[in-house]
Symmetry: C2
Subunit: 216 residues, 2 copies
Amino acid sequence: MRKPFKLDLYLVTDRDLSLGRPLREIVEKAVKGGVTMVQLREKSASTRDFIQEALEIKSFLRHHGIPLVINDRVDVALAIDADGVHLGQSDMHWEMARRLLGPDKIIGLSIEKEKQLKEANEADIDYIGISPVFTTPTKKELEKGLGLKGTSEIAHNSKHLSVAIGGINLSNVTDVLRTGTNGVSVVSAICSAEDAEAAARALAEVIKQVKQESRL
Amino acid sequence: MRKPFKLDLYLVTDRDLSLGRPLREIVEKAVKGGVTMVQLREKSASTRDFIQEALEIKSFLRHHGIPLVINDRVDVALAIDADGVHLGQSDMHWEMARRLLGPDKIIGLSIEKEKQLKEANEADIDYIGISPVFTTPTKKELEKGLGLKGTSEIAHNSKHLSVAIGGINLSNVTDVLRTGTNGVSVVSAICSAEDAEAAARALAEVIKQVKQESRL
C-alpha cells in the first residue's frame, strides 16, 4: 500500500539555497515547524553521496511519519527504499518509473502546461506538482510562471491531488492555496530562511487557517 | 545468465569529446571498426534524454551482439534493460547495484588505488576498470595516473578480468596491454577521432597482434 501523504506543506530541498548548512539540519527544523512531506533534490552530488544523505534523512523522517520522495533519481529511491519519486517532464517517464518502483510507491509528476494534464489525468500517479506558479531563481529555464489563474485551472482540472510550487512564500501562500491546490511546495522560503523551523511554522499556520476557512 | 563479454577494445562515450557528432554515429562506426563493448556515460543529459539515447544505441548494439553497459545510473540501466552498469568509487555501491539489477547483469567497478582491490576481489562483480593509467583531460579530479607499473600490479592481483582506462591511444596501447590487462578502454582515441571507424580498426588490430604474441 502506498504510504498516506499530506501535500499541505511540502519541502523541496536545495543544497545551493541552504546557506551552507547541512540539508539534514534544514529538514529536521522544517519538520519541527510543521512540514508534511519532503522531497530530496540533488543535481550535482555524486550518486554515493546522494544515497548516503537520503538514508540519513529517511531515517529521521520515518521516525516522524513524514514521507520522503526523491526527485528524478529512481535508482536512489530504490536503493534507499524511499516512499516515492517526483518526476519532471524531462525525467524518466512515469510509466517506466511505476514499473521499476512497483505499485506501493508514491509518484508525483510536474505539470508545466495545461496540455500536459491530459496524460497526467490518465496516469497511475499520486499527485501533480503545478510548476511554477511564480517565476523563481531555482527554475531559470522557465521564462514565466503559470500565475494564480493558470494554477487554478490546472488544479481544478486535475484528477489527482495537486501541490503548487514556484516562488511561494508567506506573503502569497494564502492566494496560492485559494486557487484550489491541496498544498504548497516551498524551496527557498524554508531552505534559505535564517530560522527554518520558524519559517515552516509560520507557513504551516497560514495553511491551516486557509484550509479551515475553505471548509466553512 | 550474464551476457558474455570481451573487454578487448571497450569504448566509453563522451558527448563533450565527440566534436558535436551524435553518439550513435560514433558508436556505429566504432563497432564497424572492431569495438567489443560499449559503455554509455552521460553526466549532464536529462534522465529522459539519457534513456532515449541509450535505447537507440542498445537497439543497434543488440543487433551486433555487443554488450551495452551504463555508467553510474542504475535507473537508466534498469529502464532500458542494459547488459550492465559500470560503477566508479563515488557511484552506487556494487552490492546495492547487484541487489537492484539481479544476478544476470554485468557489473564493472573502477579501481583507482591498489588498496581498493581487496574489496573488489571479494565482490560479486564481473570486471574491474583500472583507472587512470595515464592522466587524461576527461578525469580532471585525478592528479596522476597509475602508470604502467601500477596498472600491472593491479591487473595481476585482480581476481576479476580487468580493463585499463585513461589516456590510451595507438601509441601506447601495446605497452598498456603488456601490463596484463584483458583489454583497454578508450574515450577520446575514438570519440574525438576524425574517422572513428578507422581509429577503432587500428586499435583493434594492434590489440589482436599483442594478444596473439602473448599466447606464443
